[in-house]
């Protein structure tokens, strides 16, 4: 744990990528594989299942500090992170004691908590609170509460591991995909030299991610070098057919076995040694259904016949990453599309994402403007000569999304944020006018600069009307332009509508509350902007 805490401190104390890389390399070289495996696990964003609930943690903090519960809440409101709040409140630990390694802490101390009764769990956690101090105790609390962010990207961790292993970072990324487990053996395999044996048949390839295109596509060069496709509004997936078995992976590297039986059935008609990249969509009568329909399937691990009938799905393939058991990612897109045709010609029930034909860049404008009516998010532009790359590498894949909807809303509630925004009012609720009233329609967290956040925070503190726990209602004065991607009817919301991905576009200090949009303006979009489900 000490070594991991030192790594955390080194990463936390710099914003320079090279310094972070050096810290990671030093750590992976010098740490026992069992500990390093767990570090990889956390640094790449995976977390432990929650072992203790936060109510218990708050109670135990009260017990260990002798502070009243309300004062712990007040402190949490200011700090904005429960793990840190507990660490700051607890009395200093005996930092002298030898502390367990990361793996031992997790396997021997944390995981067994699950099987203990309440009192034994409390005693164990409080004993560790007494034994640990500084960053070690803070990190221990982070593990307890599940959440973990250190300001290193998965890509940086991959680069560090590649340097330690002396292999290409794309191979590390590949080895980390799928069912990678944090054990000493997996870590050793992770940093081993390249070999035939190190991949099992379920392992997916790392996804290639598109970057948003700012401005017009004319800057991309000759149109004949590019392929345009619709940007589907579904969930990205990789479909693997190897050894007579099908594996469907989400972009979040979750194996989605059993969730989409219609796709699994269709995949049985694929030949062996084929891996396809594509999108899962709710689909009926040759066209996509709204994302809201797909949402009915996303959480279902074993959909029943009613769900299957109400929300049918399809897999739209747009790339072929493996053909005849050979990794095809280095081949140009134009060649991979031929493999895709071959793969799908023998199969039935799997769809192909067709090209949007164009000769001049200008031809695409009309298609893009038509996106909403077609139920897509815009266009994808892919360079025909490009290989299938790893992660968000700019240059070859662009997403050219349709302009978002916007409206002007009034700030009515604010709540303190977390992490970097702790103690600042950064979580906002916006309303639109409905007759004489204001009806909340959206919560938004992002879109303002740090300067604007600071200024708005001061304004909120000085114009608070009422406080409900951490939430403040403010004088309805400030108007903001908000953007959002979609709208649907929602009986669960007072306004009757739910907006998708709302965020702040601009602070409209030139507008007064009377200039804000009305609920009926938004509801009109329900009819015009959205096809019926």
């Amino acid at each position: 744990m000490k070594a991991f805490a030192e790594l955390f401190d080194r990463l936390d104390r710099t914003t320079a990528t090279n310094a972070k890389l050096a810290a990671l390399v030093d750590y992976f070289r010098s740490t026992p594989p069992a500990d390093a495996a767990w570090a990889v696990n956390f640094l790449t964003g995976k977390r432990l299942k929650r072992l203790v609930n936060t109510r218990e943690l708050r109670e135990w903090t009260a017990l260990a500090t002798g502070l009243p519960a309300w004062l712990i809440e007040d402190s949490y409101e200011q700090v904005g992170d429960l793990a840190e709040t507990m660490h700051l409140l607890l009395p200093p630990g005996s930092a002298e004691a030898a502390t367990p390694g990361l793996c031992e802490l997790i396997e021997a101390r944390l995981k067994p908590l699950k099987h203990l009764d309440d009192e034994a769990r409390r005693n164990d956690v409080m004993a560790l609170w007494r034994a640990l101090d500084g960053s070690e105790r803070f990190l221990f609390n982070k593990l307890l509460t599940g959440g973990f962010r250190v300001g290193v990207s998965k890509r940086l961790v991959t680069r560090a591991l590649a340097e330690v292993a002396g292999v290409d970072s794309t191979l590390i990324a590949h080895r980390l995909m799928g069912r990678w487990q944090p054990t000493a053996r997996s870590f050793e395999a992770l940093i081993a030299p390249a070999s035939e044996a190190d991949l099992d048949s379920a392992t997916p390839y790392p996804f290639f991610l598109a970057s948003p295109l700012e401005g017009a596509p004319a800057s991309l060069g000759a149109p004949e070098d590019w392929r345009a496709e619709w940007k589907w509004d579904g969930i990205r997936a990789q479909l693997i057919r190897r050894g007579g078995k099908t594996y469907i992976w989400s972009r979040g590297e979750e194996l989605m076995a059993g969730r989409f039986p219609e796709i699994e059935t269709a995949s049985e008609t694929l030949s062996d040694g084929v891996v396809l990249d594509g999108e899962i969509l709710a689909w009926r009568d040759r066209q996509p259904l709204p994302f809201a329909v797909l949402q009915k399937r996303i959480g279902r691990k074993k959909p029943g016949p009613t769900t299957l009938a109400r929300a049918p799905v399809a897999f739209l393939a747009y790339d072929c990453l493996e053909w005849n058991g050979e990794d095809a990612r280095a081949a140009p897109l134009s060649e991979r599309l031929l493999h895709l045709d071959q793969a799908l010609s023998a199969a039935s029930g799997l769809l192909r994402s067709a090209a949007v034909e164009f000769r001049r860049w200008g031809d695409l404008d009309a298609f893009r403007e038509d996106s909403r009516a077609r139920g897509v998010e815009g266009l994808m532009l892919k360079r025909l000569a490009s290989p299938y790359r790893v992660g968000r590498t700019r240059g070859d894949w662009w997403k050219w999304k349709v302009e978002p909807y916007t409206f002007d809303g009034v700030l009515i509630y604010a709540q303190p944020g977390h992490g970097r925004r702790s103690g600042l009012y950064t979580d906002y609720t916006f309303a639109v006018r409905d007759g004489e009233q204001l009806v909340p329609v959206a919560k938004a967290y992002s879109g303002l600069t740090q300067k604007e956040i600071d200024r708005l925070d001061r304004w909120i503190r000085n114009h608070t009307r009422e406080r409900f726990g951490p939430v403040r209602s403010v004088e309805p004065v400030q108007v903001f332009e908000l953007a959002f991607e979609g709208i649907q009817a929602s009986p669960r919301h007072k306004s009757g509508i739910a907006l998708r991905f709302p965020r702040i576009h601009r602070w409209r200090e030139d507008l007064a509350i009377g200039d804000a949009d009305r609920l009926e303006d938004l509801k009109r979009l329900l009819e015009t902007g959205q096809r019926s489900a």
């Binding site: 914003t15 004062l71 700090v79 702790s422």
Partner: protein, 334 residues
């Protein structure tokens, strides 16, 4: 019993003595606890202040004021009250105020801390009926490490920067914290410390009063093209993000403040390092001081004091929270 002190447009007003403590508007007679801008303003008819604090106060509010320096612990009469200043341990010449009147004895803090500071006299408690305490860090998450530990962290960080050939830019308040750091670094700094222009006159004030500070050089005296590799530079927080910072290529940035106890405060300002050292009392010292003042009633001022007042009430001490700024705004609009 009438309140000896009440908030009004000027600040805290004492009718029995006809004076204001730390007024923010021009008033005939002011008792000033210390020279920070949220406590000392120009335009008062008379300024009563601790003798040690006079040079800095005069620098801040202008030499033209009618200054009445007084010694710590020596009572003087104002109207129908007897007033005494005691060391507050906040910055050089900072004071707490004892007001004795027929309505009881009130103690008023400007800002204070209990930790030793080589640039000012140690806080001195005194008995009072009502204790008005600052409450800048009024939550139990605020607990300061030993000064020595933090000074060692700063020196280690400086050494790391020397080894890496990078400038070490340390942000801190220009009055008080900067000089306290220079005093702590005296005899331990491996080379002279560079100072931002805003810190020069105040540091001179401290030196003129005989305090031993580490050697300093103004940044403005640097040769053109100086890259400050391995140099320590002190600058006020307002300089962060300004074009002035371009003089320190590849610098590592630190901030010395009690606010650095909370990770999010450091991260959103983009400092590489946060050093937890404050000139205000932490939570345990706020509580300890309430006990030391032996007051039956506590009023929190300067800061969000609701939590401290609530906690003291639960401990059986009558406590309330006054929002002086709101009182001033109210009287302003009235």
């Amino acid at each position: 019993m009438n309140d000896v002190l009440v908030p009004d447009a000027g600040g805290l007003y004492c009718a029995a003595g006809d004076f204001w403590i730390d007024p923010l508007r021009p008033v005939p007679r002011a008792v000033v606890t210390h020279a920070h801008a949220d406590h000392a303003r120009s335009g008062a008819g008379e300024y009563f202040t601790a003798r040690d604090g006079l040079p800095v106060l005069a620098h801040r509010v202008g030499d033209g004021g009618d200054f009445r320096p007084v010694e710590y612990g020596e009572p003087f009469a104002l109207g129908e009250t007897r007033v005494t200043l005691f060391p507050a341990g906040h910055i050089l010449g900072s004071a707490t105020v004892r007001v004795e009147s027929e309505h009881g004895t009130w103690g008023v803090s400007g800002d204070f801390k209990r930790a030793p500071d080589p640039t000012c006299a140690l806080f001195q408690p005194f008995a009072c009926d009502v204790w008005m305490t600052e409450c800048t860090f009024g939550l139990p998450v605020y607990r300061w490490p030993e000064t020595e530990q933090v000074v060692t962290e700063i020196l280690d960080w400086w050494q790391d920067c020397i080894a890496a050939g990078r400038p070490a830019v340390l942000f801190c308040y220009a009055l008080g914290k900067a000089q306290r750091l220079l005093a702590e670094l005296a005899g331990r700094a491996p080379r002279p410390v560079w100072l931002h222009g805003a810190m020069l006159p105040l540091t001179d004030c401290y030196r003129a009063q005989g305090l031993g500070l580490a050697d300093t050089v103004p940044v403005s005296a640097a040769e053109k093209g100086e890259r400050f590799a391995g140099e320590l530079i002190l600058a006020p927080p307002s300089a962060a993000g300004s074009p002035w910072m371009r003089r320190f290529p590849k610098h590592s940035a630190g901030f010395v403040s009690g606010w650095m106890r909370i990770r999010g405060n450091r991260r959103r300002r983009g400092y590489d390092r946060g050093f937890v050292m404050s000139d205000h009392a932490d939570w345990p010292d706020l509580i300890r001081t309430v006990a030391d003042m032996r007051a039956a009633r506590v009023i929190t001022i300067h800061g969000n004091g609701e939590a401290l007042a609530g906690y003291l009430n639960e401990q059986g001490i009558a406590a309330e929270s006054w929002n002086l700024r709101a009182s001033m705004n109210r009287s302003e609009s009235a």
